[in-house]
Symmetry: C2
Subunit: 190 residues, 2 copies
């Protein structure tokens, strides 16, 4: 069992309806040491995919994407959910359903920072239905970049995201892969 | 001249109306090495304030707060701007004006992660009018915590934030302190 899995068992909470609360070390309060360990792990797992840039979505993807980027020596771009005034008028924009907000959210990347021929490694906190990550992949493709790998801290395998992403044909890695959250009990895939 | 100042001169853009665009290394694309250098710098500057927790605001504060937290060995809490479903009903909430959104935004922290007697170091990307940081300080005070220091990557001294925060009576550190952005020219305080 790795450090993230141990922490999930210790401090994670299965709230019902497939919701795993990890607000004390990932989503609201962040444990920087744990994020660094996970970033090092991703850097090792994706050492040979030839990535030139890391792509994530604000907000909760930023911490694991940043520590992965640190260990790989790559820049990280986080897709914005609202367009800041500093962004040009012409952008890459896609819609993805948000679990926590219960509606569609925009994912926006400036063409300034996602160029043609970039090799993109997508890192996020959760892989659940895979819809946010598919949205990021659409942004990368729109920019003429190629997705070369997908990493998530926590995968909820029962939500089918891995199947939804299969057509991308890239390696998908999760550090803690959860089989079930039924009856408040957290079970990992062996 | 430090690494952040050099990078601002090289890649920052003064867009007029006091707006400094640093989207290529801080606000949309992030340079993890630069963030790590700044985090190490903050850790050194605030080594003796006795901080027990780092507090920032989503979104752009997360990267510098995380690297500072890494170098100080402290947890970091980022105030949310929308309340996720995993947060309890009873929260600390305050309003602060958002520059980029042109309206008031909520800053929300769960009482689970900001406790009585915590010594809080606030880290953010920008210190401009100081209103976001004042909002974070109000959250800390509401929780019975004490603010012990304030750090910003970039200070726009002409917006008066340092004066607005003076009543907190804590050390305020910025890594790049900007005197003027007039006529598209970036000038630092000596």
């Amino acid at each position: 069992m790795n450090e993230l899995q141990e922490r999930i068992l210790k401090d994670g909470q299965a709230l019902g309806n497939g919701i795993l609360k990890v607000d004390s070390f990932v989503n609201h309060q962040v444990d920087p040491h744990l994020m660094d360990t996970c970033g090092r792990d991703f850097a090792k797992r994706f050492a040979n995919v030839g990535a030139t840039k890391i792509l994530t979505a604000e907000i909760s993807g930023i911490a694991p994407a940043l520590t992965t980027a640190l260990h790989m020596g790559l820049p990280v771009v986080y897709a914005r959910k609202t367009k800041p005034i500093t962004m040009p008028d012409q952008v890459y924009l896609t819609l993805a359903p948000s679990h926590t907000k219960g509606r569609m959210v925009e994912l926006i990347v400036s063409p300034e920072y996602l160029a043609n021929d970039e090799k993109v490694l997508i890192i996020d906190d959760f892989l659940a239905s895979g819809q946010t990550i598919l949205g990021l992949a659409r942004l990368a493709e729109a920019a003429g970049s190629k997705v070369v790998g997908i990493g998530a801290l926590i995968e909820k395998i029962f939500e089918g995201g891995r199947d939804a992403l299969a057509s991308l044909g890239v390696p998908i890695e999760s550090i803690a892969c959860i089989k079930s959250l039924d009856d408040g009990k957290i079970e990992f895939v062996e």
